[in-house]
Symmetry: C2
DNA sequence: GTCTATAATGCGATAGAC
DNA sequence: GTCTATCGCATTATAGAC
């Protein structure tokens, strides 16, 4: 593995574990074993390295949405995505970045994060639209809104899990969302004949 | 206002705006105008000051749950809480702390955060139980789970809003949650007589 | 590309006078 | 309680040889 790739890989890990503000170039050097000179040759500033690492983290995280995009029963895809194995105590490597002021205030650093969420929102909207069309969810529900709701359940679930130092709240949040989706199925009772 | 209170107040703001790692004792001094000697007299370390400020932020944030606890129609209280005016781009002053490794890894600093979430969860569970008992939500929904789900919607909504630098995703996430709750009302159609 | 040396600035605190 | 002075170390680089 080239020094360059090693630096990006290491910074990606550290951004996930510690965030931007709390990760120093020295941390990256020590964990990666790459020397000072090499590091500043490939990446003139910490920000440059962080940008590359952030893009890598986004590229890492997005394939998970293939659960949503893939073919098959829409509601089943939604449930598969919501029950997918996740390390709740580590949080989301993309969502995490929104809490780092130096990332959030820097349009260039924030851009990959915004793109990732926009794309995920599109996938969610699409599968929800399908579920409504298939009669699995009540007509009249707004797929774009619901997409925001379900994305939030995941992102917020991480927060609850870390606060309690226990993955259970994350799992309960997702399970509760699935319960709600089931409860929002169109009624199957047949209205009394007029 | 005493120097001590001024320090706590200022640290509270900075923890909300910038987090723990990215806030230095010097930042606190400069914004508060309190001198070095005073500061280290009242708070021997940055961590001591942060703990006091964190407890203040928790005390600030909890009264909002009175929307949930208060008397009246349970579902209306839920909707009131979910549509309450919030500055989505600033995020949650309590939830934010879960993303600071130095807070999350320090049981003493994390404790007030965990307590706040536990208490909020209790309020949510209680109002949801009432809503189910009142026939506003389908019987068989689990109030504890649903409480996690709705708390997550709020916490995650902040993440989406910051990622897009736009409060709309937050509002949509909450609106979508309300839509889902309405869709999860018990069916009012009368089943065909057997 | 990688190395070692150097440096300005900030961080988080301590010391001791008033 | 508040002030000023000082401190050792980390951060975020830069310089220039190899």
């Amino acid at each position: 593995m080239s020094s360059r790739d090693l630096l990006v890989e290491t910074m990606s890990q550290l951004l996930w574990e510690r965030g931007y503000a709390d990760t120093s170039p020295r941390d990256v050097r020590q964990r990666s074993g790459v020397g000072q000179g090499s590091m500043y040759h490939h990446f003139p500033t910490k920000r440059d390295l962080a940008l590359a690492a952030l893009e890598r983290n986004v590229a890492d995280a997005l394939p998970a949405t293939s659960d949503l995009d893939g073919p098959g029963d829409p509601l089943a895809r939604i449930e598969a995505y919501l029950t997918r194995e996740r390390d709740a105590l580590k949080g989301c490597k993309v969502g995490r970045m929104t809490q780092d002021p130096q990332v959030r205030e820097d349009p260039v650093l924030l851009a990959p994060v915004a793109r990732a969420f926009a794309q995920t929102h599109a996938s969610w909207t699409s599968v929800l639209r399908e579920a409504i069309a298939a009669g699995q969810l009540q007509d009249g529900l707004d797929p774009e809104r619901l997409a925001r709701t379900l994305m939030s359940v995941i992102q917020g679930g991480y927060v609850l899990a870390i606060a309690q130092q226990d993955p259970a709240p994350f799992e309960q949040a997702c399970a509760g969302a699935i319960d709600l989706l089931h409860a929002a199925a169109p009624s199957t009772t047949i209205p009394r004949r007029p």
